[in-house]
Symmetry: C2
Subunit: 328 residues, 2 copies
């Protein structure tokens, strides 16, 4: 975080970059995770670019295999939010001075493992050397049925808000990795840290949400921020009931030790779960899709007319912790 | 350049990344400027990613508008080499700590100007803050007729090698910008510097080369390196006659002052011209296409069975200057 107040990432994009994308319908005003380019008569290609920088988006001591996995998986998480099946990706690798071939070899091995796991394949890119830290930009391509890719802008009043998996493990895992999570057993700390280091994008669920969800975002900036992005893009308010937010055992125990960690659970990022706006009549279909994808889903709130994020604890309104821009 | 001997960019890609792209036909083994994804029944989408880093690929004191132009145009040059018409692009902007909104505003203004000039539009991306230098990764998309996108691998023995525009101005312009080009008038120095700072990608020519050229590359690494890339990908030798290489007046005068600059003219990069492998029977068609695109083209050599780059001066073989990896 910068020490003086600066415009945030979303404001910056809205002010300076969204006007550049106005004439491209598939860009959705840069408000969603993906852009959509026409593919064949029955499909569009979902496109998403993400950059990760050493020491900012992953720990500087991370193994090359895990760096590869993180770089690729944050993009796969966006494709999942778009309802897309992974297809191919472009890789730009900016190596720091003093790079070693052995590192690149292990990095490529990490990519190869994830290519097999997610059914995606490298199709091009660029390699440069930078005086700065290791940085990786991936542009991932996925396939969606024509005109049906999911974005953030189509939630409706009355839609339920669902979350996949468990929330908060990413942010708690970052604390654990930095040795800042006290009073918790080693096994819990390890479990949380693994969640931070190795995202598990919900690709199996994402493509099954087409025809069910009205809007989807992945939880990369934090639950409140990302649910808020859907609300903002859809010009709605989103209400989240904190007691319904699904937590892992490790997160529950961490919160029992220190309830102040709720700010990290709700406001931190790196969960790479999906938040999903679903009309009530599609609830059964969502549960079937989630079972087929083997991903648990939990209803945690609702969309209504209005604007912003409203957080309650057992029905009582509480101040939402400061959110978003965690990497910016 | 690293002080100790390291594997070069192309070797690194061939060893560690080409195997990851083996199963994707449109990646062409990562040997060409572009990958091709299927679009509709009559088109493919050409895709190219390029990263530029402040102080490496452009001068650290460059204006935001020119940084925007350089970042976008190096990608457009690759699309031109693929025979593609510009369509859309994704932008990843890694801002240095201490960035100012004013800079971003001017940068976006530069993008807007080039969007109008080249008929391309922003469709998405990412914005991050890095502890390193300003870095920009652009993934550009272009349109080519189905299955007819141009690459580097299909030159044939007997094909002529043609070059667009003039060669060497980029590398000489970098010297001029660094105050290392002595004995040359201010106007010539300025003209060369402009060529370095502001590439003019040959998009109008590129899309007209489909059905004419067997292989195309853009001159980003240097004439000998890029003609050599076509030769290597096509498993051929390329012969270049130095006296035929088209030069600007400024470059001619610089060489008259210091003939050692031939190494920069032939071995430096950043010309963003096209080198084109054309069968002799297509020569007339090439000249018509070049006239319609308003881009001069010059025959400078020929492909033959064998391997590597053979440089001659008035028929006499000379040692080619060390080439490639200028940014690596």
């Amino acid at each position: 975080m910068a020490s003086r107040r600066r415009v945030g990432e979303f404001e910056l994009i809205a002010r300076h970059f969204a006007p550049l994308a106005r004439s491209f319908a598939g860009a959705g005003g840069l408000e969603s995770d993906n852009a959509f380019l026409p593919a064949d008569r029955r499909h569009d290609t979902a496109v998403k670019t993400d950059t990760v920088v050493s020491g900012v988006h992953f720990l500087a001591d991370e193994t090359p295999q895990r760096v590869a996995a993180k770089a690729l998986r944050v993009c796969l998480s966006d494709l999942a939010a778009g309802g897309a099946r992974p297809l191919a990706y472009q890789l730009s690798l900016a190596l720091p001075r003093g790079w070693r071939e052995r590192w690149v070899e292990d990095f490529a091995r990490g990519l190869a493992a994830d290519q097999r796991r997610y059914g995606i394949v490298l199709c091009g890119g660029d390699t440069v050397v930078t005086p700065g830290p290791l940085s990786i930009t991936i542009t991932a391509f996925g396939t969606v049925p024509r005109g049906r890719g999911l974005g953030r802008a189509d939630a409706r009043p009355g839609d339920e808000l669902w979350a996949s998996g468990t929330i908060g493990d990413g942010a708690l895992g970052l604390l654990a990795a930095r040795g800042r999570l006290k009073g918790l057993g080693a096994r819990d700390r390890k479990a949380l840290e693994d969640r931070y280091r190795l995202p598990r994008p919900r690709t199996a669920l994402g493509s099954r949400l087409i025809g069910i969800a009205n809007a989807v975002a992945d939880v990369s900036d934090g639950l409140l921020a990302d649910a808020g992005h859907i609300a903002a893009a859809s010009r709605l308010e989103v209400h989240i009931a904190r007691e319904l937010v699904p937590l892992s055992g490790a997160a529950r125990r961490a919160l029992a030790v220190d309830p102040a960690l709720w700010a990290n659970v709700l406001g931190g990022g790196d969960d790479y779960e999906l938040v999903i706006a679903v009309p009530p009549r599609k609830r059964a279909a969502l549960l079937v899709a989630a079972r087929r994808a083997d991903v648990p889903v939990t209803p945690i709130g609702r969309f209504a007319r209005g604007g912003g994020v409203r957080l309650t604890v057992n029905g009582k309104g509480v101040k939402a912790p400061r959110t978003g821009y965690v990497h910016f």
